[in-house]
Symmetry: C2
DNA sequence: TTGAAAACTGGCCGATCGGTCAGGAAGGAT
DNA sequence: ATCCTTCCTGACCGATCGGCCAGTTTTCAA
């Protein structure tokens, strides 16, 4: 019965269907009409609840962005070595939990800086790179970026791998490339 | 001078400008009009020389695709260990030489199977993954895919790194993740 | 029951896309 | 100079996109 207002029910369904469509076809290839049809409402309704298509994207990414932001807060004050181990473990977790959402980011990368709605997410992602690097060495920082790119790509095609398989793969890959224990 | 027919001169300029635009804004975000304006001709001229937008993409990727195909031929008959070392060296070379072109692929990945014009390039890319894996172990094959994804992402933003820096980075990253000598 | 607020919608708009076509301009061999 | 081929273009087309708005339906507290 839910004291859930009508507003939240529709919003939630729109976000849910948008996530599925963004995963399947990518953000750019998904139209507001596609989202509306999948959610069982009109395109105008989508725009009634969200202030434009980028706002829908931001809502889809919001849970992951919030978790990442919290993760970054928790890492404050750790030593470089501690932070790297922390980042490997937590980011692997995050990648598995939001594997579908991360997939969505791939389609946005070329124009990610033109989407102000997710600026905080992008900023936290860059900070995460620093943590993963575990050092100020430019080479190690590049390798950390390399690792993140690899991981982003590997989260594609959900369903082809179980969560545990993906977790193991991410953990091994990150530790190999970052040369962590 | 130049036995170069008019045809080839215009075609070449279109491909050259298309490559730049695909790099800067991505394939999907580049319109035929953008390409035509940059090449100093009309959109109709672009479509006179190329049978549709995907054909322009195929022409941009053609040199890299040809080199990759040749590389795969050379690898035939090598043992798994030999092939892995061969793949690491040659693919690093290829990535550096065509760093801009590889960047273009990023924007196409979600719908790459819907572009028949570059099917051979895709097929060779998959075979390359097998070579890099150096084993039939599914984990190693996934790690090879992980490495390729990382490398694809790292070829972005040309100009931020010199060719030598990129070569070194790719070599180190591939060897770490593939645990090769 | 009623009336205002919230939720929702069909229809329309301007812009942009890839692509087509009839016909003009340029070039070269004769 | 003639003529045919190659090269090129402006105008146009249908489709689709994100977004907007006037107006209708639904919800719910009073």
């Amino acid at each position: 019965m839910a004291a859930t207002p009508v507003r939240e029910r529709t919003r939630h369904e729109i976000v849910r269907q948008a996530m599925h469509l963004f995963q399947d076809r990518g953000y750019n290839a998904t139209s507001l009409q596609d989202i509306a049809s999948a959610a069982g409402c009109s395109k105008a309704t989508v725009l009634y609840h969200f202030n434009g298509k980028p706002a829908v994207l931001a809502a889809v990414l919001e849970p992951a962005a919030a978790d990442l932001a919290g993760l970054m807060d928790s890492a404050a004050g750790l030593s470089q070595a501690e932070a790297q181990e922390f980042a490997i473990q937590q980011f692997t977790d995050l990648a598995v939990r939001y594997r579908g959402v991360i997939d969505v980011l791939q389609d946005i990368l070329p124009v990610i800086d033109e989407v102000p709605e997710i600026a905080q997410l992008v900023a936290d992602g860059i900070r995460l790179t620093d943590l993963l690097a575990g050092s100020d060495d430019p080479l190690e920082r590049d390798l950390a970026k390399f690792a993140i790119n690899g991981l982003l790509g590997e989260c594609r095609h959900p369903g082809e791998r179980t969560d545990d398989e993906l977790r193991k793969l991410c953990d091994i890959a990150l530790r190999r490339i970052l040369r962590s224990a």
